[in-house]
Symmetry: D2
Subunit: 335 residues, 4 copies
Amino acid sequence: MLRIAVLGCGRIGRMHIANIAAHPRSKLAVVYDTHTPTAQAVAEEFATTAARSADEIFADSGVDAVLIATATDTHADLIEAAVAAGKPVLCEKPIDLSLARVNACAKKIAGTNVPIQIGFNRRFDPGHKAARDAVVAGEIGKLHQVMITSRDPGMPDRNYIEAAGGIFRDMVIHDFDLARFMLGEEPVEVFAIGGRLIDPDLMDELNDHDTTMIIMRTASGRQCQINTSRASNYGYDQRIELLGSAGMIQSQNRKPNAVRKFGAQTVESATPYLEFFIERYREAFDAEIDAFIDTVENNQPVQSSFEDGHRALILAEAAIKSVAEGRFINIKEVN
Amino acid sequence: MLRIAVLGCGRIGRMHIANIAAHPRSKLAVVYDTHTPTAQAVAEEFATTAARSADEIFADSGVDAVLIATATDTHADLIEAAVAAGKPVLCEKPIDLSLARVNACAKKIAGTNVPIQIGFNRRFDPGHKAARDAVVAGEIGKLHQVMITSRDPGMPDRNYIEAAGGIFRDMVIHDFDLARFMLGEEPVEVFAIGGRLIDPDLMDELNDHDTTMIIMRTASGRQCQINTSRASNYGYDQRIELLGSAGMIQSQNRKPNAVRKFGAQTVESATPYLEFFIERYREAFDAEIDAFIDTVENNQPVQSSFEDGHRALILAEAAIKSVAEGRFINIKEVN
Amino acid sequence: MLRIAVLGCGRIGRMHIANIAAHPRSKLAVVYDTHTPTAQAVAEEFATTAARSADEIFADSGVDAVLIATATDTHADLIEAAVAAGKPVLCEKPIDLSLARVNACAKKIAGTNVPIQIGFNRRFDPGHKAARDAVVAGEIGKLHQVMITSRDPGMPDRNYIEAAGGIFRDMVIHDFDLARFMLGEEPVEVFAIGGRLIDPDLMDELNDHDTTMIIMRTASGRQCQINTSRASNYGYDQRIELLGSAGMIQSQNRKPNAVRKFGAQTVESATPYLEFFIERYREAFDAEIDAFIDTVENNQPVQSSFEDGHRALILAEAAIKSVAEGRFINIKEVN
Amino acid sequence: MLRIAVLGCGRIGRMHIANIAAHPRSKLAVVYDTHTPTAQAVAEEFATTAARSADEIFADSGVDAVLIATATDTHADLIEAAVAAGKPVLCEKPIDLSLARVNACAKKIAGTNVPIQIGFNRRFDPGHKAARDAVVAGEIGKLHQVMITSRDPGMPDRNYIEAAGGIFRDMVIHDFDLARFMLGEEPVEVFAIGGRLIDPDLMDELNDHDTTMIIMRTASGRQCQINTSRASNYGYDQRIELLGSAGMIQSQNRKPNAVRKFGAQTVESATPYLEFFIERYREAFDAEIDAFIDTVENNQPVQSSFEDGHRALILAEAAIKSVAEGRFINIKEVN
């Protein structure tokens, strides 16, 4: 039983807390939040204790590992502290909104053997993983193209957007990671466009985008295409398509049940998709914890590493530069 | 070019006339209808002539074959006349509503080598046929069960129903034929129930049914299940399912296009099914003509024979008897 | 937290034990099995204790309720004992293979207010339940027909079959219950056929069947059709179809993921279905426990009652009689 | 009956000849091919005559309209000749591989009221058209993104590729036209990449590409994404997806039948897609002829005009420039 402390008791932190508490191979050791009443309420609900500080957790010998789900601008500091304390880390994405800060963090922790896993949950989705496994097993021959569709079910609120660092660093970063995972090679060139189609006024004011399209290419010539939207009115849409020389594989959307309805206007209508990420990627979040435990307890390789977090951010930076300049950006230009 | 005369210019007759006229291997020779103005109008539309009588057609050396699409109670007489005249026949189902009359007709034409094909169009549907072909090719091992779903899109009008001979002889007879085709063996026992759920008053008055379920079994033990409805509000529903020891095959519904719609209430909604039989079984009606031409011109075996029409009617009679007596009826009891 | 004791540590008992242990609203109180080493091993695995007898459990004030997953021939005795001890019961189906024994049990416990829930898990499946809810909500108008497809992925071993009481009492009983649940009315007439198509020698020897078809009718005329097979080589197949005057609803199969593969031979191929019942009905088994807790703790009505277990067995008896006599059997004839 | 002459008796010409001959509203007037024996054989097969020259056709008062299906480099000349002769034209795409030649042709025919339709058949596909119609009807609110997947089932032979003008002018030009049709606005910026993944040696030698990805944007900010492959081993793949503020629509692939197969390895497997374009777009080619007849006989507007052919070529030129320069190309730069 891995004793895991959770730092950050917001929406995603609470989800991890519940998952860790229910997981047969982990135990919720202690929780922490900068807002003490929140931490105490969560601690009570899950029959554990609330730490008074992050440092208290890093010093606690009853804590085997930490999960970081705090505000983004604290991630790098906490990763460094955890590494210093020798506590394995599972940290929510992104590592930081600043590539300079991520580079500095990378330098600081260079050479550590403390495991650091970044929370790119989608890699662990049974469907997405089965698709990737099939490619690795050679089922579609040589991989030629990767297509990713990624649409959130609605615009986040203004506060969230203001702090999020822009759609590429906040939302599309998941798709950049998934693209790297599916391509099996590093994209070296990035082209992107950003649109203000859903809430033009807000996007103008915040200099952000709500709708994007991206093309990437690896050194060997594999191609990748991403399209994203902040507000798909028919629900959370998460699809991957992999085209190879000998076949094609899709990982399609998950539905809450397998009901189909037939009426005078439409037939074969399905129940709307599972939303939002907590429901859609439920198995993925569990498998992510599982993989983390395997890394810490059984020396399995980290499946979604600090360097993966670093690389995804580089792609986001390249996309942002491409939007500004209307060019295919080589990732060397941003790193 | 097979020169085909068409007797009967009603809905189904007109459809055959158009098909024959457009078919690259057939030529519309002449048309006939008891209602002369109808025949003349159709003749004009398709640039042919209208015969003054059926006899004129049977005597016409410019007619290679006849298609009978007249009122049901004339079918047997016209088949006999065609056989006497040596004209190959493609006759709409059913041969007659009376099993005695069919038996008498069979006796009269016994030994003829004039080809007689009965219009069981569904056998010729590309999907249904591909399903049957896969069974014959051994793709699902030994066949165990056949499931047929057959729902018309709406109640016919009262006049039609009054003349139709009851749902088993009129509508379900198609499914009895399809069951025999799919089973590859003769059903020897029949159980059926009939319901009055759609229009109970009319069904009571006419002593008919609008909703049925049937179970049949062959001598070797293969099982078959049919469900039918006169009025499926979501459209014409025509499905077949074949279960074998090594797999399962479905022939599902056809749709007019491959569009899927996604909205706030439902996702993956398809365009309603093709209806009615003229649209749904368009390729089947063409393939039926094709098969007829192959039989007449190339001595290919009849694919849907007089005996097939006879056997389907026996199953209908057994079903009617089963509804009355609540028993598994052996087909010997009705023949 | 409802403290539940589990009697019976076989396959299904173990599954319930794991579910109860992980459920946020229940606690595994104690376990029992006639084979003591099994009970002890399970107790150790789930960090609880093993009782030395069933009586010890019924006398235990630390036990709020019991789940009975023992051999079928002990169910009725244990239900009676639980009722006598005032312990709410969740008992696996069937109550007993003998209708006389079930009737006697019913008589003995008549008037009790101790809740008794029978383990008809399929009622709790999210898809099946959503389908039924839609009917109740009037989405398809008046219900006319219910179609149930139910195929197990492989023949059970000989020992299981010998003790199971025949396919109707063992396997089809689930479908009889589901039919009652979906029809919303009591079937009053039953017709059934049984085939020996998968393992004819074994079925002959044991006087059992491996393949069945059933038709049932309610007093108001609603129709129901079931087809079952012990060995579907493509996996566990569980489908329901509901036809009404204003639409149709299907609850289709669940798949482990939403991957589709495309190759030179086939396209849009899905991953094989979840099997067997423990995986396919995982959410249903959880929801079953949930409903039981709601009944015990919140006085919610039992959703799958002793009487439901009784009625399903009556339908099985009617089906067996129908197979023997080739008749539509009125349920009064067997009760 | 519109009397149509067909110039060019190659694969696509023959298809049009058969369609025109079978169409209820058209008559095949005469055929022509530079290879006289081919023209004569086709004329014989379709019971018509072969002209000795194109000029003979333009001078023929028995010809109401012409369909041009000759080699690409003759299209512009023949369009000009047809316009001079006052014969309405249905010309296969592309108008010419040279934008300069198309511009010159446009200048020469400027102001003519002779109808000129370009053979962008996909606009007439029932599924694609229904998708576009739904957008026009407001079913998905404001259109935000268009996604087009377009994969041919195999590499054309070397001779074809050498004459085709490159993948963008030859194959992707269909997708550029479809993108314009679906967007309802003119794309003003184009980014494209081209890959040599299927047959790198041949592509290197011919300086062509076999795999592409494209992003386009309209003046109002609508986004479009295309991915193409010359060789999809699972068949001809033709899909469109339209995302709007109030929903999403897909026009998916057509299959030859609605059969699904279930076995031990895969379930729900469909029959491979219809291929190639002649089968997949059969209804579209018919509807294209229909629209042409409506234009000539009933003064309906041309649905796929010379200017559409012109615009699609401009997009192809912009894509080619983008591949060379790695930039978002404004279409003004190439026109």
